[in-house]
Amino acid sequence: MHNKTLDFSKLLLTGNEAIALGGAKAGVYTAVGYPGTPSSEILPYLSKLNSGAIVNWSINEKTALEIAAGTSIGRKRAMFTTKHVGLNVASDPLMTLALTGVRGGLVVVTADDPGMHSSQNEQDNRLYSKFAKIPMFEPSDSQECLDFTSKAFDVSEEFDTPVILRTVTRISHSRSIAVFSGKFPFDGERKNTENTYKKDIEKFVMVPVYARKRHKIALERLKRLIDFSNGSGLNTVEYNDKEFGIITSGISYQYAKEIAPFASFLKLSFSYPLPDLLIKDFVKNVKNIVIIEELEPFIQNETAALGIELKGKEYFPRDGELNPDIVLSGLKKAGFFKDKKTADKEKNAGKNVRISLPNPLPPRFPALCSGCPHTSVFYALKKLKVPVMGDIGCYTLGALPPLNAMDSCISMGLAFGAAQGLSVTKSSHKKTVGIMGDSTFFHSGITSLIDAKYNNAKFTAIILDNSTTAMTGGQDHPGTGKNLSFNQSVSCKIDIKKIIEGIGIDEIYAVDPYDYNETLKTLKKALDSNNLNVVITNRPCVLYPKKIDTGKKFKISDGCTGCDLCMQTGCPSIRLPHGKTGAAKPVPFIDSSCIGCSICRDICIFNFIKEI
């Protein structure tokens, strides 16, 4: 696939892969972002396409968008990718880039996570397009991801504005067929060293006198964008039964087509600003209309603002993701199925299976991996009973049973700030802990640690350095010294300890978390000291960049009474035998998935866990 001229005909792509391909097709010059589910696969795939683009992970979303902005100022096309909450981080540059406009096309890809498969909230980022007064595309399958990404660059340049491409988990992580033909256009362009840089302070220096002018321009632009929304052909009307009509966008369109193919449709692909004339026309021609959209009543409110009151959220939930069954039940409430048979559902009536279980099924909380280096730290923190301000990463799982050793998970990089704020309240007699991973530390922990030193805070900061961004699939960051770019990669490794020394924090402990006793001792020491101090753990992730198996094997020897100390690690390799064993307490065993981290051996104070 590492060819510059590609004549892909028909591909089975995830939405994320299709977005990458759309970017390459548009000749994107710089593509940057910070990993976040469900957006993480766009940049690695783009990098592999080797289209000539510079593709890099940035330290955080704000920096990424700023890099993209610079490329755009330099008259080249730029793409920034993020998950929904990451756009909050980048919202500062976004809101003002909406005023300055662009030179090279600037596309912001936001992948939202309705249903929160792997997120801390389910905000609807369509609202950012209205908030910033910038246009938005909403693809509903991989073909549209490809086409719209490419089209978004043209719209960005034509209307002098950043453009949002908004997907959701079921678009980004769904595969469907996409047809691609052509070349990646700008191969020769990179060699162009001609001086084309032009200063334009009235456009890019947003001091009040210029910003006021640009705001008027942005408002005028919005009017032209409404015309585009009506006339570009991106928003489409399908007339079928004119009794029933559905206005929808993105993934909701697919669910609605599945469930009510008989209805007439107004499909919004360019969903901000709304095509007012198309909507008015649709309303005139179709009798009963409902709006189907995930999360916020965005289309519904915008339509209401046009003076057209249509129902939507009266039938469909405002939280969680939709699916064909929720859409069916909403449409039933809306009277769409009064005299109709519903597709598969009724066909399968009478085929229902009802199984009543004698006992419950095992719950499956996500858990830290077998041999995860975070395990011993949380086990120790639980024992020490300290207040722990947590953060966002795999280690958030330390908050769940049985470890139960993290007391907050709110936003990325919150831990050290929150630890400072909590520690001054003296609401706990114990010293406060703030805990985050290495990638999170780079993302937004550095600033709060500087603040802590500056304001003379007293808490213990723990950095779980596993040398990767693990939860999102093992992406690189400044601490790994590697980056994505397929052929232009020249990256430097940034030393976390040196950063902390540079801040002026002297008490820094490094510890190997596979040595549980040493980890506990080090944490105790750090907590006993009344200073701001930092504990850094130094074992790599067991999954990324490569799967680790120490080669050691452990077993629980005869004599074990089933006291459950080792089970409290939550290690997935420690299991109980099935069925009743006759013993008062069943004795656990270690299965073949053990990678030999040895943490449980240290934890068993009776020495029943032995290496074999």
Binding site: H117, S176, E258, P358, R364, D564, L576
Partner: protein, 201 residues
């Protein structure tokens, strides 16, 4: 090949290879020339959580998610997950291809009074519940077959092999797809596992 939509739900525990299995099955269906959509979940639940991939193929597919009670087949790598997902997606005609083994990490085995005991449905009862309710049920001792082949990690490919018998997709398409989607060093092993699973019925 008939044009009716086929819905395959793959389920298991994060880390068992549900995503890889989804890739293999969906690319095999794609190579056979059908319209296809899939949906998978990444991120947090991949760490030991209950995970599923939806695959739908046929003449024209809209929703990437399988509607309730509409699975043509369920492929499962853990018998408890089989029971969990049959609840929402199976009907009497659903073909079930499942591992006969189920995993319970020790700590989840605690009861409400905090005493340890294995109070879950055991795998034996799980198997008999499935047998009572589904006429097309394949329960495989995939772990044992995998051990005999020489690598426990190919148990998911064995189950794909068993499922393949119920599809119209030709054997050579399956083999080519596996070859493209597993690490080069493990191609022979995976093909052996697939064929073993395919022959196990």
């Amino acid at each position: 090949m008939d044009n009716s939509t086929k819905n395959i739900l793959i389920c298991g525990i994060g880390g068992q290879g549900v995503v890889l299995a989804g890739r293999i099955i969906s690319f095999a269906a794609f190579e056979s020339g059908m319209d296809i959509k899939t949906s998978e979940v990444h991120g947090m639940s991949q760490r030991g959580g209950s995970v599923s991939t939806h695959i739908r193929f046929g003449k024209k597919i809209f929703s990437p998610l399988i509607p309730e009670k509409s699975a043509t087949a369920i492929l499962s790598f853990d018998i408890y997950e089989t029971l969990r997902y049959t609840g929402s997606f199976a009907n009497k005609d659903t073909i079930i291809v499942s591992s006969n083994d189920g995993k319970t990490p020790a700590w989840t085995s605690k009861t409400k009074n905090d005493t340890i005991g294995n109070n879950f449905t055991d795998t034996y009862s799980a198997a008999s519940l499935l047998k009572d309710n589904f006429k097309s049920l394949i329960l495989l001792n995939d772990k044992l077959i995998a051990e005999n082949i020489g690598n426990i990690k190919v148990s998911n490919i064995i189950l794909i092999g068993a499922l393949s018998v119920f599809t119209d997709i030709e054997e050579n398409i399956w083999l080519k797809t596996i070859e493209k989607n597993v690490p080069e060093k493990t191609v022979d092993l995976n093909i052996k596992a697939f064929l073993k699973g395919r022959a196990s019925l």
